[in-house]
């Protein structure tokens, strides 16, 4: 009972895996189509192409063309209304061959079972996330990112759940679960619990964020490991990028997770049969589902695979930070409304008590225009930058972004040339507007992507509350720059590397920082990630407003 208890099937799987270990050029589309058809699946292909806005130096691609191959195993007795997806990405070289082999072995095994009530779709996508995006857009008849793809000829009903496999080495000693998806979205916690339950049942070592389970969570070292794991998850969620092929499914309300095989050079190795049994168990459980997974939490943080922090626990922390801003706004409002103290300069005060709308509006408009410039200029003027400077396109984009960001710092000196003399009331009104604007912005961000909202709140709320034209200028300018979104990102990069126990030197960290910025911009153009537009169009202008207030004359 169960996968590969039959020695013939075991031999077939081993043959498949050894054959796939030979290096393959590009994606073996014809061989995959033939193999899947031999296993009794309905096989279809989809070709797609995309020109990236600028070359991706991490994955070394610019003009991407590829083919996705997928085979549908129809449920023997059920109507074709629901489907489950198992995917493995196939890239040039032999990176994920084990996963593709396991996928084909499982397809053969599942073909002989009669208890499946949902269609199973076995997807081999090329160019990982880009191919997955093309397939999902084709499946759901949407086109949000401007990619070119051929329509899908075969469909399987609405997808209930999906799993993505990444087995990068031939030897696997533990399985890692990756949950974070696009824009910080997470699958239902039941999927994580399902994976952990099967890992325990089959005695497979399983990890989350690369950290093992332990049995002494109450001790100091156990607690610190839990905090580390949770911080890693917060960092990953805040970046808003999909950390596995599963990340793109979540947008369509399909619960998905990625299972990565990790080789940590232990004595006990997990063989393909055990991973196959784990996947078989998970798919049988998902098959028994009568509705989409919805009973457990959608918003959570995991300090370990057996513990979680739900939204009810972590939201009040953010709420308290937001309250600071609201109290400051209340304070400003009271200051604005109370009449000034009666003294000799009453006449002057009355004359200056109504600040011009212009003096408020101008900083607002200019900050937002700078934000728009930060959003649009880097990608639009990369050719011009490449002509004039000896840099590659990617570097051009990133350096333009940093240049625009820094140029914004010079603004207050220019703004005041165009506005009338600023007044005491003027900066108060501007600060009221800015503080409320920040509160609403952070609130909305925290609802969608809690980690991003929390990190921004942690860095921006203190300065936003305390900055006035009367605080010591140099110190607070330094603090404001130190806590601006760009520097927060820089420190996060170093912090993330520390948490992963792979600390980097300053040069490497800087290069990593530049690549993170370029990846963020690419994610926005390729998959619709919202982090880059949020920072450029909303958070940065808001921060500029506070910079304006600091240098108010």
């Amino acid at each position: 009972m169960g996968l590969l208890s039959d020695p013939n099937r075991r031999r077939a799987l081993i043959n498949l895996l050894t054959r796939l270990n030979a290096p393959i050029c590009g994606m073996p589309v014809d061989w995959l189509v033939k193999t899947m058809q031999a296993r009794g699946l309905e096989v279809f292909t989809q070709s797609f192409s995309r020109t990236l806005p600028f070359p991706d130096e991490n994955k070394e691609r610019y003009m991407v063309k590829g083919t996705n191959v997928y085979g549908i195993l129809r449920a023997p007795r059920a109507p074709r209304t629901e489907a489950l997806v198992l995917s493995a990405s196939c890239s040039p070289g032999d990176e994920n061959n084990q996963a593709v082999g396991l996928l084909l072995g499982l397809a053969q095994y599942f073909r002989n079972q009669i208890y499946f009530a949902k269609d199973l779709i076995f997807l081999v996508n090329e160019h990982d996330l880009i191919g997955m995006q093309a397939w999902l857009e084709g499946y759901h008849h949407t086109n949000t990112t401007g990619m070119d793809w051929t329509p899908l000829h075969g469909r399987g009903g609405s997808i209930q759940a999906a799993l993505s496999l990444e087995l990068n080495s031939h030897v696997v000693t533990s399985l890692d679960l990756v949950l974070e998806g696009l824009n910080g979205q997470l699958p239902n916690l039941d999927l994580a619990n399902l994976f952990y339950a099967f890992c325990q049942k089959l005695s497979v070592l399983c990890t989350i964020e690369g950290k093992l389970q332990r049995n002494d969570w109450d001790s100091v070292s156990g607690y610190s490991q839990a905090v580390q794991t949770m911080m890693l998850m917060v960092m990953k969620q805040a970046s808003g990028r999909p950390w596995g092929d599963h990340g793109l499914f979540l947008r369509y309300h399909i619960e998905a997770a990625t299972i990565k095989g990790i080789n940590s050079f232990r004595q006990d190795k997990t063989d393909a049969t055990t991973i196959g049994r784990l996947l078989e168990g998970m798919y049988r459980k998902l098959n028994n589902l009568l509705e989409r997974l919805h009973q457990s939490y959608f918003f959570y943080l995991m300090p370990s695979l057996s513990n979680f922090v739900s939204i009810g626990y972590y939201m009040p922390a953010f709420g308290l930070l937001a309250v600071i801003l609201l109290l400051r706004a209340l304070d400003l409002w009271v200051q604005l409304v109370t009449p000034p103290p009666r003294n000799e300069e009453r006449v002057n005060d009355i004359a200056q008590s109504c600040p011009g709308v212009l003096s408020i509006l101008i900083p607002l408009v200019i900050s937002h225009l700078t934000g728009v410039a930060l959003y649009m200029l880097p990608v639009r003027f990369q050719e011009m930058a490449v002509e004039h400077f000896p840099v590659s396109e990617t570097e051009a984009v990133v350096l333009t972004a940093i240049a625009v960001y820094t140029a914004g710092l010079a603004l207050p000196h220019n703004t005041h040339r165009y506005s009338s003399e600023g007044t005491e009331q003027g900066w108060r009104v501007l600060k009221l507007v800015a503080v409320l604007y920040l509160a609403v912005l952070l609130g909305c961000t925290a609802l969608i992507n809690f980690s991003l909202g929390f990190i921004l709140a942690l860095t921006l709320v203190p300065v936003a509350a305390f900055v006035t034209p009367h605080v010591p200028k140099v110190l607070s300018a330094f603090a404001l720059v130190f806590l601006s979104p760009a520097c927060t990102l820089l420190f996060s990069v170093f912090f993330y590397q520390e948490l992963q126990e792979m600390p980097v030197s300053f040069q490497d960290g800087w290069i990593l920082y530049l690549s993170v910025i370029s990846q963020g911009i690419l994610d926005h153009y390729l998959y619709g990630s919202l982090v880059y537009p949020l920072i450029a169009l909303l958070v940065y202008p808001c921060w500029l407003l506070f910079w304006n207030i600091l240098f108010w004359k």
Binding site: Y115, A117, L290
Partner: protein
């Protein structure tokens, strides 16, 4: 002399034998019922409620084995497990892991299936208020000499039983339905068995005579399921019905096992919950009630070569020719179905 002694002995033996026969005749009709009916209901649907269908089918199997025919069984199953897409062994419903006993069998006759199992249909079956187009197999055609077994299983709570995820039947409704049955003389004695969480709450409100009730758990307790089967992937039976089935497998049509043994089925050590029973409304002593009085359809037959004097109830009237020379026929009329005047004047 010896001949006389022999004759004397023979006659005394015969006399004793006759007296025994008379006693047996007395015992013959002590239970008071002449036919048996069963209403077996499973109220939950979906694949993970496989065990409720298996519960009902195992009671169905026992009841059929002990003699109640399909025409006297109303079987209501809210979902089809045997042909469910997820069943790895299609056309079977197993009651024990290792797939020892297939309770679906070859000749299951389901009267109410799928969405027809509703509270309204259940109450209509009990009270007999069905539309004229309802076929005989869907009716409970019991009379005042019928012993009825009613078995309910599904998900329940304190005072209610859930039908099909969308409605509930309360214990008050059930008690009133039984009172309607009593007033319409639709049963002689009724045995009510329920296997749900907090099942004892369902029989708390009964107030009609001749009702005996059994439940798998008390108020505040959950009824638990028995083992899961790894091949099929769900729990196969509930504990109480599992041990009830085990108990019933030992009963054959001639068993003299009485109700007190049935009350001992599944003690707390096996069931984890405490089964309960209620006998205060029952007129006979449970110790003298046979299990087959409800679970089987036992035709009482005893072969004797002697003649038995029955008091004649038919009075012979001499037919006298009428004044006009023609035979006068007596005019007959139907008696009242519902003797309202008698009830009102009670």
């Amino acid at each position: 002399m010896t001949l006389f002694t022999l004759l004397f002995l023979l006659s005394s033996c015969l006399l004793v034998y006759c007296i025994n026969i008379e006693d047996n005749v007395g015992q013959f009709f002590s239970s008071g019922h002449t036919n048996n009916w069963a209403v077996l209901v499973c109220t939950s649907r979906f694949w993970f409620n496989y065990r409720h269908v298996a519960n009902t089918l195992s009671v169905y199997r026992s009841v059929k084995r002990l003699g109640i025919p399909d025409s006297h069984i109303v079987l209501m199953l809210a979902d089809d497990m045997a042909c469910n897409h997820r069943n790895p062994k299609p056309a079977t419903v197993f009651s024990h892991k290792n797939m020892e006993l297939n309770v679906y069998g070859d000749d299951v006759e389901v009267d109410y299936r799928g969405y027809e199992v509703t509270v309204e249909n259940f109450l209509r079956v009990l009270t007999g208020r069905l539309p004229p187009s309802t076929p005989r197999s869907k009716r409970l055609l019991s009379d005042d000499r019928s012993n009825i077994l009613i078995y309910l299983t599904g998900h329940g709570g304190n005072g209610f039983l859930k039908f099909q995820d969308s409605e509930e039947i309360s214990n008050v409704e059930l008690a009133d339905a039984f009172e309607q049955m009593w007033q319409k003389r639709r049963y002689n004695e009724l045995l009510f068995i329920i296997d749900t969480c907090q099942g004892a709450s369902m029989y708390e409100r009964f107030y009609s005579p001749n009702l005996m009730a059994l439940a798998s758990s008390q108020v505040g307790e959950d009824s638990l399921s028995h083992q899961p089967d790894v091949g099929i992937g769900v729990h196969l039976m509930d504990r109480y019905t599992f041990y009830l089935l085990e108990f019933l497998e030992d009963i054959h049509p001639a068993s003299k096992t009485c109700m007190n043994d049935l009350f001992k089925v599944c003690p707390k050590s096996q069931c984890v919950s405490t089964p309960g029973h209620r006998t205060d409304l029952f007129l006979r002593d449970p110790g003298s009630v046979l299990v087959t009085d409800f679970f089987g359809s036992v035709r009482k037959v005893e072969i004797t070569m002697d003649s038995i004097n029955l008091t004649s109830v038919v009075s012979h009237r001499k037919e006298e020719p009428a004044a006009n020379g023609e035979l006068q026929k007596e005019v007959y009329s139907y008696s009242d179905q519902l003797p309202v005047s008698e009830i009102i004047h009670q």
